[in-house]
Protein backbone atom coordinates (compact mmCIF):
# COMPACT_ATOMS: atom_id res chain seq x y z
CA UNK A 1 0.00 0.00 0.00
CA UNK A 2 2.75 2.40 0.97
CA UNK A 3 4.63 1.88 -2.28
CA UNK A 4 1.45 2.51 -4.28
CA UNK A 5 0.83 5.77 -2.48
CA UNK A 6 4.46 6.76 -3.00
CA UNK A 7 3.72 6.80 -6.70
CA UNK A 8 1.45 9.77 -6.03
CA UNK A 9 3.11 11.59 -3.13
CA UNK A 10 6.85 12.03 -3.36
CA UNK A 11 8.52 12.72 -0.03
CA UNK A 12 10.95 15.55 0.65
CA UNK A 13 11.62 18.52 -1.55
CA UNK A 14 12.75 18.75 -5.13
CA UNK A 15 12.57 20.94 -8.16
CA UNK A 16 10.61 18.50 -10.29
CA UNK A 17 7.86 15.98 -9.93
CA UNK A 18 7.92 13.27 -12.53
CA UNK A 19 4.70 12.15 -14.10
CA UNK A 20 3.61 8.59 -13.40
CA UNK A 21 4.53 7.55 -16.94
CA UNK A 22 4.57 3.80 -17.42
CA UNK A 23 3.33 3.20 -13.87
CA UNK A 24 -0.11 4.07 -15.22
CA UNK A 25 -0.13 0.69 -16.90
CA UNK A 26 -0.61 -0.99 -13.52
CA UNK A 27 -1.90 1.81 -11.30
CA UNK A 28 -4.96 2.87 -13.32
CA UNK A 29 -8.10 0.78 -13.58
CA UNK A 30 -8.56 1.75 -17.23
CA UNK A 31 -5.44 -0.19 -18.16
CA UNK A 32 -6.42 -3.15 -16.00
CA UNK A 33 -9.78 -3.21 -17.78
CA UNK A 34 -7.88 -3.41 -21.07
CA UNK A 35 -5.56 -6.19 -19.87
CA UNK A 36 -8.37 -8.26 -18.37
CA UNK A 37 -10.90 -7.75 -21.15
CA UNK A 38 -8.46 -8.46 -23.96
CA UNK A 39 -6.88 -11.29 -21.96
CA UNK A 40 -10.24 -13.02 -21.50
CA UNK A 41 -11.06 -12.62 -25.17
CA UNK A 42 -7.73 -14.02 -26.31
CA UNK A 43 -8.15 -16.92 -23.87
CA UNK A 44 -11.60 -17.62 -25.34
CA UNK A 45 -10.12 -17.77 -28.84
CA UNK A 46 -7.17 -19.95 -27.76
CA UNK A 47 -9.44 -22.37 -25.86
CA UNK A 48 -11.68 -22.58 -28.92
CA UNK A 49 -8.78 -23.33 -31.24
CA UNK A 50 -7.46 -25.94 -28.83
CA UNK A 51 -10.89 -27.57 -28.63
CA UNK A 52 -11.18 -26.71 -24.91
CA UNK A 53 -14.01 -24.16 -24.97
CA UNK A 54 -15.66 -25.91 -22.05
CA UNK A 55 -13.25 -24.23 -19.62
CA UNK A 56 -14.44 -20.69 -20.32
CA UNK A 57 -18.06 -21.79 -20.77
CA UNK A 58 -17.93 -23.29 -17.29
CA UNK A 59 -16.50 -20.10 -15.80
CA UNK A 60 -19.22 -18.07 -17.52
CA UNK A 61 -22.11 -19.96 -15.92
CA UNK A 62 -25.05 -17.97 -14.55
CA UNK A 63 -28.67 -18.78 -13.71
CA UNK A 64 -30.03 -15.80 -15.65
CA UNK A 65 -31.28 -17.88 -18.56
CA UNK A 66 -32.72 -20.68 -16.45
CA UNK A 67 -36.38 -19.56 -16.64
CA UNK A 68 -37.11 -21.45 -13.43
CA UNK A 69 -40.65 -21.66 -12.13
CA UNK A 70 -40.09 -23.42 -8.80
CA UNK A 71 -37.49 -23.08 -6.06
CA UNK A 72 -36.73 -26.78 -6.40
CA UNK A 73 -35.68 -26.16 -9.97
CA UNK A 74 -33.44 -23.30 -8.90
CA UNK A 75 -31.95 -25.29 -6.00
CA UNK A 76 -31.31 -28.19 -8.31
CA UNK A 77 -29.40 -25.92 -10.69
CA UNK A 78 -27.11 -24.70 -7.91
CA UNK A 79 -26.55 -28.12 -6.37
CA UNK A 80 -25.71 -29.61 -9.76
CA UNK A 81 -23.31 -26.80 -10.63
CA UNK A 82 -21.94 -25.98 -7.18
CA UNK A 83 -18.37 -26.74 -8.20
CA UNK A 84 -18.62 -24.49 -11.27
CA UNK A 85 -19.88 -21.59 -9.16
CA UNK A 86 -17.03 -22.16 -6.71
CA UNK A 87 -14.47 -22.06 -9.53
CA UNK A 88 -16.14 -18.99 -10.96
CA UNK A 89 -16.12 -17.20 -7.61
CA UNK A 90 -12.42 -17.97 -7.16
CA UNK A 91 -11.74 -16.80 -10.72
CA UNK A 92 -13.36 -13.40 -10.14
CA UNK A 93 -11.89 -13.09 -6.66
CA UNK A 94 -8.35 -13.69 -7.89
CA UNK A 95 -8.43 -11.41 -10.92
CA UNK A 96 -10.20 -8.55 -9.14
CA UNK A 97 -8.40 -9.09 -5.82
CA UNK A 98 -4.92 -9.11 -7.34
CA UNK A 99 -5.50 -6.17 -9.67
CA UNK A 100 -7.16 -3.94 -7.07
CA UNK A 101 -4.40 -4.85 -4.59
CA UNK A 102 -1.80 -3.66 -7.09
CA UNK A 103 -3.77 -0.42 -7.42
CA UNK A 104 -3.64 0.03 -3.65
CA UNK A 105 -6.80 -1.55 -2.22
CA UNK A 106 -6.13 -3.79 0.81
CA UNK A 107 -7.13 -7.42 0.33
CA UNK A 108 -8.39 -7.57 3.93
CA UNK A 109 -11.12 -5.13 2.89
CA UNK A 110 -11.65 -6.36 -0.64
CA UNK A 111 -12.18 -10.09 0.01
CA UNK A 112 -15.09 -9.98 2.50
CA UNK A 113 -16.80 -7.20 0.55
CA UNK A 114 -16.43 -9.08 -2.73
CA UNK A 115 -17.89 -12.25 -1.20
CA UNK A 116 -20.92 -10.16 -0.25
CA UNK A 117 -21.12 -8.69 -3.76
CA UNK A 118 -20.82 -12.09 -5.44
CA UNK A 119 -23.58 -13.63 -3.33
CA UNK A 120 -25.86 -10.67 -4.07
CA UNK A 121 -25.08 -11.06 -7.76
CA UNK A 122 -26.15 -14.70 -7.64
CA UNK A 123 -29.42 -13.51 -6.11
CA UNK A 124 -29.81 -10.94 -8.90
CA UNK A 125 -29.22 -13.51 -11.63
CA UNK A 126 -31.66 -15.86 -9.94
CA UNK A 127 -34.37 -13.19 -9.90
CA UNK A 128 -33.68 -12.38 -13.56
CA UNK A 129 -33.90 -16.10 -14.37
CA UNK A 130 -37.40 -16.46 -12.90
CA UNK A 131 -39.93 -17.38 -15.60
CA UNK A 132 -42.21 -14.48 -14.57
CA UNK A 133 -39.50 -11.85 -14.05
CA UNK A 134 -40.36 -9.88 -17.18
CA UNK A 135 -44.07 -9.81 -16.27
CA UNK A 136 -43.23 -7.92 -13.06
CA UNK A 137 -40.56 -5.68 -14.63
CA UNK A 138 -37.88 -7.41 -12.57
CA UNK A 139 -35.13 -6.38 -14.96
CA UNK A 140 -31.79 -7.24 -13.39
CA UNK A 141 -30.23 -3.74 -13.71
CA UNK A 142 -33.18 -2.05 -12.02
CA UNK A 143 -33.57 -4.68 -9.31
CA UNK A 144 -29.83 -4.61 -8.60
CA UNK A 145 -29.85 -0.84 -8.31
CA UNK A 146 -32.87 -0.71 -6.01
CA UNK A 147 -31.70 -3.60 -3.83
CA UNK A 148 -28.27 -1.98 -3.52
CA UNK A 149 -29.81 1.36 -2.58
CA UNK A 150 -31.97 -0.25 0.11
CA UNK A 151 -29.05 -2.16 1.62
CA UNK A 152 -26.73 0.86 1.59
CA UNK A 153 -29.24 3.25 3.11
CA UNK A 154 -31.20 1.04 5.50
CA UNK A 155 -28.51 -1.30 6.81
CA UNK A 156 -25.61 1.16 6.85
CA UNK A 157 -22.85 -0.92 5.31
CA UNK A 158 -19.38 0.02 6.59
CA UNK A 159 -17.50 2.37 4.30
CA UNK A 160 -14.55 -0.01 3.88
CA UNK A 161 -16.78 -2.34 1.88
CA UNK A 162 -16.63 0.16 -0.98
CA UNK A 163 -13.21 -1.41 -1.63
CA UNK A 164 -14.94 -4.12 -3.64
CA UNK A 165 -17.86 -2.05 -4.98
CA UNK A 166 -15.81 -0.71 -7.91
CA UNK A 167 -18.56 0.69 -10.15
CA UNK A 168 -16.24 2.16 -12.77
CA UNK A 169 -13.79 -0.73 -12.84
CA UNK A 170 -16.56 -3.25 -13.47
CA UNK A 171 -18.23 -1.19 -16.18
CA UNK A 172 -14.92 -0.60 -17.96
CA UNK A 173 -14.19 -4.32 -18.07
CA UNK A 174 -17.74 -4.88 -19.32
CA UNK A 175 -17.25 -2.31 -22.07
CA UNK A 176 -13.98 -3.90 -23.24
CA UNK A 177 -15.73 -7.30 -23.36
CA UNK A 178 -18.58 -5.62 -25.22
CA UNK A 179 -16.05 -4.74 -27.93
CA UNK A 180 -15.74 -8.45 -28.70
CA UNK A 181 -19.36 -8.47 -29.91
CA UNK A 182 -19.07 -5.18 -31.81
CA UNK A 183 -17.99 -5.46 -35.46
CA UNK A 184 -15.34 -2.84 -36.14
CA UNK A 185 -17.21 -1.89 -39.31
CA UNK A 186 -20.16 -0.82 -37.16
CA UNK A 187 -17.89 1.32 -34.99
CA UNK A 188 -16.37 2.98 -38.04
CA UNK A 189 -19.64 3.61 -39.87
CA UNK A 190 -21.86 4.63 -36.96
CA UNK A 191 -19.16 6.33 -34.91
CA UNK A 192 -19.14 9.61 -36.89
CA UNK A 193 -22.94 9.94 -36.62
CA UNK A 194 -22.73 9.34 -32.88
CA UNK A 195 -19.92 11.87 -32.52
CA UNK A 196 -21.84 14.50 -34.49
CA UNK A 197 -25.04 14.04 -32.50
CA UNK A 198 -23.27 13.84 -29.16
CA UNK A 199 -21.17 16.92 -29.89
CA UNK A 200 -24.22 19.05 -30.65
CA UNK A 201 -25.92 17.93 -27.45
CA UNK A 202 -22.85 18.13 -25.22
CA UNK A 203 -21.95 21.64 -26.34
CA UNK A 204 -25.53 22.86 -26.01
CA UNK A 205 -26.01 21.35 -22.57
CA UNK A 206 -22.70 22.62 -21.23
CA UNK A 207 -23.33 26.14 -22.49
CA UNK A 208 -26.89 26.19 -21.11
CA UNK A 209 -25.75 25.10 -17.66
CA UNK A 210 -22.76 27.46 -17.66
CA UNK A 211 -24.64 30.56 -18.78
CA UNK A 212 -27.67 29.88 -16.59
CA UNK A 213 -25.38 29.39 -13.61
CA UNK A 214 -23.25 32.47 -14.22
CA UNK A 215 -25.58 34.96 -15.96
CA UNK A 216 -29.02 34.05 -14.59
CA UNK A 217 -28.05 32.89 -11.11
CA UNK A 218 -24.74 34.67 -10.53
CA UNK A 219 -22.88 31.55 -9.43
CA UNK A 220 -19.10 31.09 -9.34
CA UNK A 221 -17.88 30.37 -12.86
CA UNK A 222 -15.61 27.56 -11.68
CA UNK A 223 -18.65 25.85 -10.17
CA UNK A 224 -20.58 26.56 -13.38
CA UNK A 225 -17.85 24.94 -15.48
CA UNK A 226 -17.59 21.89 -13.22
CA UNK A 227 -21.33 21.16 -13.21
CA UNK A 228 -21.58 22.13 -16.90
CA UNK A 229 -19.24 19.37 -18.06
CA UNK A 230 -20.71 17.04 -15.44
CA UNK A 231 -24.12 17.38 -17.09
CA UNK A 232 -22.81 17.47 -20.64
CA UNK A 233 -20.03 14.91 -20.90
CA UNK A 234 -19.52 12.12 -18.40
CA UNK A 235 -20.70 13.15 -14.98
CA UNK A 236 -18.37 13.39 -12.00
CA UNK A 237 -15.45 12.02 -14.03
CA UNK A 238 -15.71 15.01 -16.37
CA UNK A 239 -16.01 17.39 -13.42
CA UNK A 240 -12.86 15.88 -11.93
CA UNK A 241 -11.09 16.08 -15.29
CA UNK A 242 -11.50 19.86 -15.53
CA UNK A 243 -11.34 20.58 -11.79
CA UNK A 244 -7.63 21.42 -11.80
CA UNK A 245 -7.89 23.20 -15.16
CA UNK A 246 -10.28 25.78 -13.73
CA UNK A 247 -8.97 25.73 -10.16
CA UNK A 248 -12.20 24.29 -8.77
CA UNK A 249 -12.65 23.99 -5.04
CA UNK A 250 -13.62 20.91 -3.07
CA UNK A 251 -17.21 22.04 -2.56
CA UNK A 252 -17.63 22.49 -6.32
CA UNK A 253 -16.95 18.81 -6.89
CA UNK A 254 -19.19 17.84 -3.98
CA UNK A 255 -21.97 19.77 -5.70
CA UNK A 256 -21.34 17.93 -8.95
CA UNK A 257 -21.39 14.57 -7.16
CA UNK A 258 -24.79 15.29 -5.60
CA UNK A 259 -26.39 16.62 -8.78
CA UNK A 260 -25.02 13.90 -11.03
CA UNK A 261 -25.89 11.04 -8.68
CA UNK A 262 -29.44 12.23 -8.00
CA UNK A 263 -30.29 12.92 -11.65
CA UNK A 264 -28.51 9.84 -12.94
CA UNK A 265 -30.49 7.62 -10.55
CA UNK A 266 -33.75 9.30 -11.49
CA UNK A 267 -33.02 8.77 -15.18
CA UNK A 268 -32.03 5.12 -14.70
CA UNK A 269 -35.45 4.52 -13.20
CA UNK A 270 -37.47 6.78 -15.52
CA UNK A 271 -35.97 6.59 -19.04
CA UNK A 272 -36.63 2.86 -19.61
CA UNK A 273 -40.30 3.25 -18.72
CA UNK A 274 -40.71 6.45 -20.75
CA UNK A 275 -39.06 4.67 -23.69
CA UNK A 276 -41.52 1.83 -23.31
CA UNK A 277 -44.48 4.21 -23.05
CA UNK A 278 -43.30 5.84 -26.29
CA UNK A 279 -42.74 2.39 -27.82
CA UNK A 280 -39.25 3.35 -28.96
CA UNK A 281 -37.08 0.98 -30.96
CA UNK A 282 -34.42 -0.37 -28.54
CA UNK A 283 -31.56 1.14 -30.58
CA UNK A 284 -33.30 4.51 -30.75
CA UNK A 285 -33.86 4.42 -27.00
CA UNK A 286 -30.22 3.39 -26.52
CA UNK A 287 -29.06 6.42 -28.50
CA UNK A 288 -31.38 8.69 -26.52
CA UNK A 289 -30.17 7.29 -23.21
CA UNK A 290 -26.61 7.71 -24.48
CA UNK A 291 -27.15 11.43 -24.93
CA UNK A 292 -29.13 11.85 -21.69
CA UNK A 293 -27.28 9.89 -19.02
CA UNK A 294 -24.09 11.37 -17.58
CA UNK A 295 -22.21 8.35 -16.30
CA UNK A 296 -21.41 5.20 -18.28
CA UNK A 297 -22.52 2.89 -15.49
CA UNK A 298 -25.88 4.63 -15.06
CA UNK A 299 -26.47 4.70 -18.79
CA UNK A 300 -25.68 1.03 -19.24
CA UNK A 301 -28.16 0.22 -16.46
CA UNK A 302 -30.92 2.22 -18.18
CA UNK A 303 -30.13 0.98 -21.71
CA UNK A 304 -29.82 -2.62 -20.57
CA UNK A 305 -33.10 -2.42 -18.62
CA UNK A 306 -35.02 -1.05 -21.60
CA UNK A 307 -33.35 -3.48 -23.99
CA UNK A 308 -34.55 -6.36 -21.82
CA UNK A 309 -38.05 -4.86 -21.63
CA UNK A 310 -38.17 -4.50 -25.42
CA UNK A 311 -36.68 -7.93 -26.03
CA UNK A 312 -33.54 -6.67 -27.77
CA UNK A 313 -30.91 -5.74 -25.22
CA UNK A 314 -28.13 -6.00 -27.79
CA UNK A 315 -29.51 -3.18 -29.97
CA UNK A 316 -30.03 -0.84 -27.01
CA UNK A 317 -26.56 -1.52 -25.62
CA UNK A 318 -24.85 -1.05 -28.99
CA UNK A 319 -26.53 2.28 -29.75
CA UNK A 320 -25.88 3.47 -26.21
CA UNK A 321 -22.20 2.53 -26.43
CA UNK A 322 -21.72 4.32 -29.74
CA UNK A 323 -23.37 7.47 -28.45
CA UNK A 324 -21.94 7.61 -24.94
CA UNK A 325 -18.53 5.98 -25.10
CA UNK A 326 -17.49 6.98 -28.61
CA UNK A 327 -19.60 10.11 -29.04
CA UNK A 328 -18.98 11.70 -25.64
CA UNK A 329 -16.38 10.03 -23.39
CA UNK A 330 -13.49 10.10 -25.85
CA UNK A 331 -13.30 13.85 -25.93
CA UNK A 332 -12.85 14.64 -22.25
CA UNK A 333 -9.21 15.64 -22.73
CA UNK A 334 -10.28 18.31 -25.21
CA UNK A 335 -12.88 19.63 -22.77
CA UNK A 336 -10.17 19.89 -20.14
CA UNK A 337 -7.86 21.85 -22.45
CA UNK A 338 -10.65 24.17 -23.58
CA UNK A 339 -11.59 24.99 -20.01
CA UNK A 340 -7.95 25.45 -19.02
CA UNK A 341 -7.65 27.86 -21.97
CA UNK A 342 -10.75 29.79 -20.92
CA UNK A 343 -9.52 29.92 -17.33
CA UNK A 344 -6.05 31.21 -18.21
CA UNK A 345 -6.89 33.48 -21.12
CA UNK A 346 -10.36 34.81 -20.37
CA UNK A 347 -10.73 34.59 -16.60
CA UNK A 348 -8.67 36.40 -14.02
CA UNK A 349 -5.44 34.62 -13.27
CA UNK A 350 -6.17 34.19 -9.60
CA UNK A 351 -8.79 31.62 -10.49
CA UNK A 352 -6.52 29.76 -12.86
CA UNK A 353 -5.61 26.19 -12.13
CA UNK A 354 -2.99 25.67 -14.82
CA UNK A 355 -2.28 26.46 -18.43
CA UNK A 356 -3.73 24.34 -21.24
CA UNK A 357 -1.47 21.54 -22.40
CA UNK A 358 -2.27 19.57 -25.57
CA UNK A 359 -0.80 16.42 -24.02
CA UNK A 360 -3.83 16.27 -21.71
CA UNK A 361 -5.80 14.84 -24.63
CA UNK A 362 -3.78 11.68 -24.14
CA UNK A 363 -3.22 11.92 -20.40
CA UNK A 364 -6.95 12.15 -19.69
CA UNK A 365 -8.03 9.85 -22.50
CA UNK A 366 -10.26 7.07 -21.11
CA UNK A 367 -7.81 4.28 -21.95
CA UNK A 368 -10.36 1.48 -21.55
CA UNK A 369 -11.86 2.65 -24.85
CA UNK A 370 -8.64 1.46 -26.53
CA UNK A 371 -9.49 -1.98 -25.18
CA UNK A 372 -12.96 -1.70 -26.67
CA UNK A 373 -11.50 -0.88 -30.10
CA UNK A 374 -8.84 -3.59 -29.82
CA UNK A 375 -11.41 -6.21 -28.80
CA UNK A 376 -13.63 -5.22 -31.71
CA UNK A 377 -10.78 -5.41 -34.22
CA UNK A 378 -9.37 -8.70 -32.91
CA UNK A 379 -12.74 -10.45 -32.87
CA UNK A 380 -13.72 -9.05 -36.28
CA UNK A 381 -10.45 -10.35 -37.74
CA UNK A 382 -10.85 -13.73 -36.04
CA UNK A 383 -14.45 -14.30 -37.14
CA UNK A 384 -13.93 -13.03 -40.70
CA UNK A 385 -12.58 -16.44 -41.70
CA UNK A 386 -15.82 -18.24 -40.83
CA UNK A 387 -18.99 -18.60 -42.86
CA UNK A 388 -22.23 -17.42 -41.25
CA UNK A 389 -23.26 -21.03 -40.64
CA UNK A 390 -19.95 -21.87 -38.98
CA UNK A 391 -20.06 -18.69 -36.95
CA UNK A 392 -23.55 -19.43 -35.62
CA UNK A 393 -22.85 -23.12 -35.15
CA UNK A 394 -19.43 -23.10 -33.51
CA UNK A 395 -17.88 -19.67 -32.87
CA UNK A 396 -20.91 -18.03 -31.31
CA UNK A 397 -21.71 -20.70 -28.69
CA UNK A 398 -18.08 -21.41 -27.82
CA UNK A 399 -16.45 -17.99 -27.97
CA UNK A 400 -18.99 -15.15 -28.16
CA UNK A 401 -21.65 -16.34 -25.70
CA UNK A 402 -19.20 -17.12 -22.86
CA UNK A 403 -17.75 -13.63 -23.28
CA UNK A 404 -21.27 -12.17 -23.25
CA UNK A 405 -21.98 -14.02 -20.01
CA UNK A 406 -18.75 -12.76 -18.41
CA UNK A 407 -19.70 -9.25 -19.55
CA UNK A 408 -23.11 -9.69 -17.93
CA UNK A 409 -21.40 -10.64 -14.67
CA UNK A 410 -19.28 -7.49 -14.84
CA UNK A 411 -22.41 -5.41 -15.47
CA UNK A 412 -24.31 -6.98 -12.56
CA UNK A 413 -21.34 -6.33 -10.23
CA UNK A 414 -21.45 -2.75 -11.49
CA UNK A 415 -25.21 -2.18 -11.15
CA UNK A 416 -25.22 -3.57 -7.62
CA UNK A 417 -22.21 -1.45 -6.75
CA UNK A 418 -23.99 1.73 -7.86
CA UNK A 419 -26.71 1.09 -5.29
CA UNK A 420 -24.35 -0.18 -2.60
CA UNK A 421 -22.11 2.91 -2.78
CA UNK A 422 -24.94 5.44 -2.92
CA UNK A 423 -25.40 6.59 0.65
CA UNK A 424 -27.74 9.53 0.49
CA UNK A 425 -26.45 10.78 3.84
CA UNK A 426 -23.03 11.28 2.18
CA UNK A 427 -24.44 13.66 -0.41
CA UNK A 428 -24.08 17.34 0.34
CA UNK A 429 -26.92 19.82 0.17
CA UNK A 430 -27.03 21.86 -3.04
CA UNK A 431 -28.33 25.42 -3.32
CA UNK A 432 -31.49 26.05 -5.29
CA UNK A 433 -29.75 28.21 -7.89
CA UNK A 434 -27.21 25.49 -8.59
CA UNK A 435 -29.92 22.88 -8.65
CA UNK A 436 -31.98 24.78 -11.22
CA UNK A 437 -29.04 25.66 -13.44
CA UNK A 438 -28.13 21.99 -13.64
CA UNK A 439 -31.69 20.73 -13.85
CA UNK A 440 -32.67 23.06 -16.69
CA UNK A 441 -29.56 21.96 -18.56
CA UNK A 442 -30.46 18.32 -18.00
CA UNK A 443 -34.00 19.02 -19.22
CA UNK A 444 -32.68 20.64 -22.40
CA UNK A 445 -30.28 17.71 -22.84
CA UNK A 446 -33.08 15.14 -22.58
CA UNK A 447 -35.41 17.02 -24.95
CA UNK A 448 -32.71 17.76 -27.55
CA UNK A 449 -31.44 14.18 -27.27
CA UNK A 450 -34.96 12.89 -27.86
CA UNK A 451 -35.46 15.09 -30.94
CA UNK A 452 -32.15 14.07 -32.49
CA UNK A 453 -32.31 10.38 -31.55
CA UNK A 454 -35.95 9.84 -32.47
CA UNK A 455 -36.90 12.38 -35.13
CA UNK A 456 -33.63 13.35 -36.85
CA UNK A 457 -31.54 10.18 -36.69
CA UNK A 458 -34.26 7.73 -35.61
CA UNK A 459 -34.31 5.68 -38.80
CA UNK A 460 -30.51 5.50 -38.76
CA UNK A 461 -30.35 4.16 -35.21
CA UNK A 462 -33.21 1.74 -35.82
CA UNK A 463 -31.35 0.26 -38.78
CA UNK A 464 -28.10 -0.46 -36.90
Amino acid sequence: MASTQDAWNEGGEGKTVKRMGWKELYLKEDWWAVWLGIGLMVLAILFFQAGSSGVLKSLAINPGGLKWSSFDQLANHFSTNANLYLYQFLFWLVIFGVTTRIMGIPLAQFIPAFIFLYVLSIVMFSIAGWANAAKFNLEAPLVALILGLIIANVFHLPKWMDSAFRVEYFIKIGIVLLGATFPITLVLTAGPVAIAQATVISLTTCLIIFFLATRAFGLDRRLAAVIGVGGAVCGVSASMAIAASVGARKEHLYTSVTLVVVWALIMILVLPFVSRALDLHPAVAGAWIGTSEFADAAGFAAASAYGKMAGNEDAAIKAFTLMKVIGRDLWIGIWSIVWAGIATVVWEKKETGHKPDAREIWWRFPKFVLGFFAASMIMTAFTSGYSLADFNGTVKPNVILPLVSLRTWAFIFCFLSIGLTTRFRDLHAVGWKTFWAFTLGVGANVVLGYILSVHVFGSYWASL
Binding site: Q5, W8, N9, E10, G12, E13, G14, K15, T16, V17, R19, K28, E29, D30, W31, M103, G104, D162, F165, R166, V167, E168, Y169, D220, R222, C234, G235, V236, S237, M240, A241, A244, G247, A248, R249, K250, E251, L253, Y254, V257, V261, F294, A295, T344, K349, K350, E351, T352, G353, H354, K355, R364, F365, P366, I418, T421, T422, R423, D426, H428
Partner: protein, 74 residues
Protein backbone atom coordinates in the same frame (compact mmCIF):
# COMPACT_ATOMS: atom_id res chain seq x y z
CA UNK B 1 2.64 34.35 -17.67
CA UNK B 2 0.57 31.47 -16.27
CA UNK B 3 0.54 29.77 -12.93
CA UNK B 4 3.14 27.17 -13.82
CA UNK B 5 5.79 29.77 -14.68
CA UNK B 6 5.49 31.71 -11.45
CA UNK B 7 5.60 28.93 -8.92
CA UNK B 8 8.12 28.35 -6.22
CA UNK B 9 11.07 26.60 -7.82
CA UNK B 10 11.35 24.10 -4.97
CA UNK B 11 7.93 22.93 -3.87
CA UNK B 12 5.63 21.12 -6.27
CA UNK B 13 2.29 19.67 -5.22
CA UNK B 14 3.62 16.12 -5.56
CA UNK B 15 6.11 16.87 -2.77
CA UNK B 16 3.67 18.67 -0.54
CA UNK B 17 2.11 17.02 2.52
CA UNK B 18 -1.12 18.91 1.81
CA UNK B 19 -1.54 17.19 -1.56
CA UNK B 20 -3.91 14.20 -1.70
CA UNK B 21 -3.17 12.29 -4.88
CA UNK B 22 -3.51 8.61 -4.00
CA UNK B 23 -6.82 7.30 -5.35
CA UNK B 24 -7.93 5.61 -2.13
CA UNK B 25 -7.10 8.70 -0.08
CA UNK B 26 -8.88 10.93 -2.58
CA UNK B 27 -12.03 8.81 -2.47
CA UNK B 28 -11.94 8.98 1.33
CA UNK B 29 -11.54 12.76 1.19
CA UNK B 30 -14.47 13.11 -1.21
CA UNK B 31 -17.31 10.84 -0.08
CA UNK B 32 -19.55 9.98 -3.02
CA UNK B 33 -16.81 10.32 -5.63
CA UNK B 34 -16.81 6.54 -6.15
CA UNK B 35 -20.59 6.23 -6.74
CA UNK B 36 -20.58 6.95 -10.46
CA UNK B 37 -16.93 7.81 -10.90
CA UNK B 38 -13.54 6.70 -9.66
CA UNK B 39 -10.28 8.16 -8.48
CA UNK B 40 -8.53 5.16 -10.05
CA UNK B 41 -9.44 6.11 -13.63
CA UNK B 42 -7.37 7.64 -16.42
CA UNK B 43 -9.66 10.64 -16.82
CA UNK B 44 -8.53 12.04 -13.46
CA UNK B 45 -4.93 11.83 -14.62
CA UNK B 46 -2.90 13.32 -11.75
CA UNK B 47 -5.48 15.71 -10.40
CA UNK B 48 -5.46 15.76 -6.63
CA UNK B 49 -6.80 17.82 -3.76
CA UNK B 50 -4.83 20.47 -1.92
CA UNK B 51 -5.94 20.14 1.70
CA UNK B 52 -4.56 23.54 2.58
CA UNK B 53 -6.63 25.48 0.08
CA UNK B 54 -9.36 22.87 -0.55
CA UNK B 55 -8.66 23.29 -4.25
CA UNK B 56 -7.96 20.82 -7.04
CA UNK B 57 -4.45 20.86 -8.44
CA UNK B 58 -2.30 18.64 -10.59
CA UNK B 59 0.63 16.82 -9.05
CA UNK B 60 3.18 18.65 -11.13
CA UNK B 61 1.82 22.12 -10.36
CA UNK B 62 3.38 24.63 -7.99
CA UNK B 63 1.85 25.95 -4.81
CA UNK B 64 -1.20 28.18 -5.19
CA UNK B 65 0.05 30.35 -2.35
CA UNK B 66 3.16 31.32 -4.33
CA UNK B 67 1.10 32.41 -7.30
CA UNK B 68 -2.01 33.93 -5.79
CA UNK B 69 -1.18 34.79 -2.21
CA UNK B 70 -2.53 32.88 0.74
CA UNK B 71 -6.14 32.85 -0.38
CA UNK B 72 -6.91 31.23 -3.70
CA UNK B 73 -9.41 32.96 -5.90
CA UNK B 74 -13.01 33.06 -5.00
Amino acid sequence: MGARETVNAVLRCGHCPHYIGGPAALESALPGLNILSSAFGSVRDETGLCRRFETFVVRTAGCIADTHGDAPGG
